[in-house]
Amino acid sequence: MRKLIAIWAAKASSVVGRLMGKKSSSSPGVIALKICPNLIKILSKNISKGVIVTCGTNGKTTTNNLLCAALEAKGYRVLCNRLGANMLGGVATAFAQACGIFGGFKADYACLEVDEASTLKVFDHIKPDVMIITNLFRDQLDRYGEIDITTDILRRAIKKAPNLKLVLNGDDPLCAQFGIDADALYYGISEPTLPQTDDAKEGRFCPVCGAEQKFNYYHYSQLGDYYCPSCSFKRPEIDFEVKNVSLGSPMRFTINGEPMELNYKGFYNIYNMAAVYAGMSALGEKTDDFGSLLGSYKPQIGRMEEIDLGKPVILNLAKNPAGFNQAIATVTADKRRKDVIIAINDNANDGRDVSWLWDVDFDNVSDENLNTLTVTGIRVYDISLRFKYAGVKVDFETTDMRAAIERALSTNSEAVYVLVNYTALYSTETVMLGIKKSLGK
């Protein structure tokens, strides 16, 4: 009975939240757990085949949602916290919403994106069968603390799930360390593809013995082919190997020899695809139809999301140095003449500390194809100052995103990129859709 009341309360709270225009999908679950603390435990018994958890600083939402889509394409019923509410409350919401009005619920799989810092708590409620860890970068130091704290939490969480199979990014020494003495599969990109730059801020030092690691090649940040010169730790043997990468549009590559084609922008998306491919294999699912699946998948809001406003306007979420550097690399890889708009907020969900802006290589934004650069957001002065000291001219400073986009639309550029951090995402999408409507598109 408690279970039923909890589910009703969560459902009611979701409806109220929606009516109030809130996008948060975390609070209904928090309420449900207050009423029935065992809710997730009870309901997870109705998942017949397996629970997959995806963690990691960047790429969680894309990886988790694509994995869900891949399983659904095979005809499975899948529970998924699709909107990216990834703390305990968000997981509970996903369960409560999957239930019928009488609490009935059955699924084959659960695909759960879980915030690294929440894994310990979440694993008290549900023990995953497979856990994917995409990468570990510095992110919102005021919320998460240093990266050592995050790896420590993950290590303790992994111990809580005794029959866990790990799916790890083998190119990231910080991820690969979890595979030592564990049941692990690795994916990785087994050839140098990007310009070689040593911009690793984390993971330079061997997670086993502390010596400085050496790299045969880098992809970005600390991802690459690494080895420790003083102990035996090195990039593990890769089970799911990406090769033959061509970074055009579409991107092409092979996974274990199978050709793949991807209409997304962003090199890092190759990692997300490889993670899903490896995750499917870890579940014992066939991956023969993977190529056609990628063709039909639509990215989530703000993941290089393209909207036609007379010219293409591409919205991308980037919230930490590794993510921003990758976003900038994607912008400069596009050789069209373009306007760039960058919005930086410092609300609680963004991290209140904006010093990470100085760890982003913003000087790379400026190349021969840049038309105008506009900065906006709550911390408009900080981002403007960042560009000043990078020697890059800011054309417009504004607090009005709509004005910024409309101005970019009126220039003679061929494309507009809008890079935003977390809390600017939904409001910017709303502005873009509003402009689209007024254009009658």
Binding site: D353, V354, D359, Y381
Partner: protein, 240 residues
């Protein structure tokens, strides 16, 4: 004229946009026609030409990284302490600040420091995190930044960098933040520290220039309107 900046262990101590402090010092010299070059002292390459060093910068790192650095730094203890006593300019932020003291007492061990400052640090709970505004005798404007530290630093008779108007400061209770000693500026504030506090940056640059070029008078003014707007925004938002 030329100023040589030495960035100590940027491979280990590089949290919180520390390189913004280096960029700020370099640019503000170059904009005035003064040469600036930054040298890196890393784990791999740690030879220091102290005679030709005008500004030493030490940033912040995680506790684990700080312990690795500390062993390396202690080998250079005498050299660094002589440098400071002779008026050498040193800027230390967060972890770098703690390392200048006698020790940093963690839960399970005590990390020995450089003993350049007569201060010590003890780990405390909770972490002190948030935006900070200081009033300081060393600048006309308020000093702004962001703090994120578990350690409580006790500065004894030392002169603080400023008085806490918003935030926690050295130990969360005394209302003091940072230390200024001879030509040492040490603080918990990142953000990074210098871009939004250009007056403080210029104070540090002037110290270095006067030491290297005894006839040097003062820095030419720059257009700091953007820096000052960024500074005032923080002051107005958090000082009610």
């Amino acid at each position: 004229m030329k100023i040589n900046i030495l960035h100590m262990y940027p491979d280990l101590l590089n949290l919180y946009g520390d390189r913004g402090n280096i960029a700020c010092m370099e640019q503000r010299l170059k904009w005035r026609g003064i040469d600036a070059e930054t040298h890196r002292c890393t784990c791999r390459e740690d030879n220091i030409d102290i005679e030709n060093t005008d500004i030493i910068f030490i940033g912040g790192g995680s506790d684990r990284e700080q312990k690795i650095v500390c062993d390396r730094l202690l080998e250079k203890k005498e050299m660094l302490s002589e440098y400071v006593e002779n008026g050498g300019v040193l800027v230390a932020v967060c972890g770098g600040y703690q390392l200048l003291g006698k020790y940093y007492k963690l839960e399970d061990e005590t990390v020995k420091g450089l003993e350049i400052l007569d201060i010590y640090t003890e780990q405390g709970s909770p972490r002190l995190i948030g935006n900070v505004v200081l009033s300081s005798d060393f600048t006309d404007r308020k000093i702004v930044g962001f703090e994120n530290h578990g350690g409580r630093t006790f500065i004894g008779d030392h002169t603080p960098l400023g008085k806490v108007v918003v935030g926690h400061g050295n130990d969360g209770v005394s209302g003091a933040e940072g230390v200024v000693y001879k030509n040492v500026t040490a603080t918990y504030l990142h953000g990074p520290l210098l871009p939004k506090n250009p007056q403080l940056c210029d104070r540090i640059l002037t110290q270095a220039l006067k030491r290297r070029y005894p006839d040097f008078k003062e820095l030419a003014p720059l257009d700091d309107s953007l820096e000052n707007r960024a500074n005032e925004y923080i002051v107005n938002r958090f000082c009610k």
